[in-house]
C-alpha cells in the first residue's frame, strides 16, 4: 500500500505507518475511474446511432401496362390486417363481402402470441394449399391502418413482416366496409 506523508493514525486498529522520505500516491483508484469513464463513452457513442427500418411503398400513380395488367391476387392467399384502435388488429382472409371459409374477421393482439401466430399459420396453409401452382405464389398481406391506429401499431406490423420474413405486403387505404367491421368489433 502506498503511503502519504501524513502523521500516522493512532487509533489502535491500523498499524503504525513508517514515515517515508518521498511520498508516493497510489494511482489504482484513478485508473479505475478512468476506465469507468472510458466504458461510459464507448457505450454512449455506439448507442447514439439510431436504428431504423426501411419502408418501400408502391408508386402512387403507376401506369397500367397493357402487356402486364395488374394481376389480382386470388382471395385464398391474401390475409388482410386491419389496424384498429386500442392496439387491436382484425384479420380476415379474402374479401369482406365474400369471405373465404374460416376467413371471417377476428380480432387479435400484437405480439408473438397474437398476430405473429396468425401470419405463420396462414403462411403454412398457403404453402400446403392444393390451389398453389407455382413456387412464387406465397401469402400476400394487405395492411390497412385505420385512423384510430397509432404509428406504433404500424411499426409493429412492419416488424412482424420482418420477423416472419413475409416479403409480400402492401399498405393500402382502409375502406368504409372495414371501418364498419371494426366498429362492430368495438375496435374503432
Amino acid at each position: 500500500m502506498a503511503e502519504l506523508n501524513t502523521a500516522p493514525k493512532d487509533d489502535g486498529k491500523k498499524k503504525v505507518r513508517s514515515k517515508k522520505s518521498n511520498p508516493a500516491v497510489d494511482l489504482t483508484a484513478m485508473v479505475d475511474l478512468a476506465f469507468l469513464l472510458i466504458t461510459f463513452f464507448m457505450l454512449t457513442t455506439t448507442l447514439s446511432k439510431p436504428q431504423s427500418m426501411d419502408l418501400a411503398m408502391p408508386d402512387k400513380d403507376e401506369q397500367i401496362d397493357d402487356e402486364n395488367p395488374k394481376a389480382e391476387t386470388p382471395a385464398w392467399r391474401t390475409l388482410t390486417l386491419v389496424l384498429g384502435s386500442g392496439d387491436n388488429v382484425a384479420y380476415y382472409i379474402g374479401s369482406l363481402d365474400n369471405p373465404q371459409p374460416g376467413g371471417e374477421p377476428v380480432i387479435a393482439k400484437y405480439g408473438k402470441n397474437g398476430i405473429r401466430q396468425v401470419i405463420l399459420k396462414k403462411s403454412k396453409e398457403v404453402q400446403a394449399d392444393p390451389r398453389r401452382t407455382k413456387n412464387d405464389e406465397t401469402l400476400v398481406i394487405i395492411i390497412k391502418p385505420s385512423e384510430k391506429s397509432t404509428y406504433k401499431n404500424l411499426v409493429d406490423i412492419l416488424d412482424e413482416m420482418a420477423i416472419t420474413q413475409e416479403k409480400r405486403y402492401a399498405i393500402v387505404d382502409i375502406t368504409p366496409e372495414d371501418v364498419q367491421m371494426l366498429t362492430e368489433k368495438k375496435a374503432y
Binding site: M1, A2, A24, D26, L27, T28, M30, V31, A34, F35, L37, I38, F41, M42, T44, T45, S48, K49, P50, Q51, S52, M53, D54, L55, A56, M57, P58, D59, K60, L83, Y110, G111, K112, P145, S146, E147, K148, S149, T150, Y151, K152, N153, L154, V155, D156, L158, D159, A162, I163
Partner: protein, 213 residues
C-alpha cells in the same frame, strides 16, 4: 555453499503508466463521440427488431410529433443551399449572417415566415417548448413538401458541383422519425407528401428490441 539471500522484493506496482494509457483512451473516445444535439421536440420512437443503420450523410429527417412536423437535413452546406432555394420560392430574403446561423440548426419546425425570428433567437431559446410549433403541411399551405424538395435539389446541386459522376448521384435519403403514440393519419399525410414527389423508399427511425414481444 553460500547462504541464499532472500531478497525482499517490493510488490508495489507503479500505476502511473496505466493511468496515462487510460486517459489517452478516454481522450480518444471523447474526441470521436458526437454530442447529442437538442431537438425541438422530444420524440419516443417505436421499437422494432430490424437493424438497419441510418446513413450518416445525404439524409434528411422529418420528425413527426403532436400532429406537427419538423425538418432537418444533414450537412451545413446542404442546409444553406436549401435555405437559399426556399427563399427563392417564397420571396423571403435572408442575410448572409442569417444563412450562416441557419446552417447550424440541426432540426427546426416553424412556418417560413417565422423563420427569421427563429434564427435570431439563441439556441437555448429556440428549444424552449412552445416556440417551434411545426412546419405546416395541410393542403392549402404545404411548406413541408417545399422544404423536402429544396433539400433534395440542394443535395443534387452540391453533388454536381463536386463533379460526382451522374451514376453516383443518389437522391437524398429521407427518414421519418415519428412518435410512437402519433395517430396514423398524420404519418399517412407525411408519407403521401413524400409519394407525391415520387419518393417511395424511406427510413423509419426506430428503437431496438428483441423478437419476444
Amino acid at each position: 555453499m553460500a547462504k541464499v539471500k532472500m531478497s525482499k522484493k517490493s510488490t508495489r506496482i507503479d500505476m502511473a503508466a496505466m493511468c496515462d494509457i487510460a486517459f489517452l483512451l478516454l481522450t480518444f473516445f471523447i474526441m470521436t463521440s458526437t454530442a447529442k444535439l437538442p431537438e425541438p421536440v422530444e420524440v419516443t420512437t417505436p421499437a422494432s427488431t430490424v437493424q438497419i443503420k441510418l446513413p450518416d450523410v445525404n439524409l434528411a429527417t422529418i420528425t413527426v410529433a403532436n400532429k406537427s412536423a419538423y425538418f432537418g437535413a444533414i450537412g451545413q452546406d446542404v442546409r444553406k443551399l436549401m435555405l437559399e432555394k426556399m427563399s427563392e420560392k417564397y420571396g423571403i430574403e435572408f442575410t448572409e449572417e442569417e444563412k450562416q446561423r441557419f446552417s447550424l440548426i440541426e432540426s427546426f419546425g416553424v412556418d417560413i415566415r417565422a423563420l427569421k425570428s427563429l434564427i435570431a433567437l439563441d439556441s437555448g431559446e429556440r428549444m424552449k417548448p412552445g416556440v417551434q410549433t411545426g412546419i405546416p403541411f395541410d393542403s392549402i399551405n404545404n411548406q413541408l413538401v417545399d422544404w423536402i424538395q429544396s433539400a433534395r435539389e440542394a443535395n443534387v446541386q452540391l453533388l454536381i458541383d463536386k463533379n460526382v459522376p451522374k451514376k453516383d448521384q443518389k437522391d437524398m435519403d429521407i427518414a421519418i422519425k415519428g412518435d410512437a403514440k402519433e395517430e396514423y393519419p398524420t404519418i399517412k399525410r407525411v408519407i403521401d407528401i413524400l409519394q407525391s414527389k415520387k419518393k417511395n423508399n424511406f427510413f423509419l427511425v426506430t428503437g431496438l428490441r428483441g423478437e419476444d414481444f
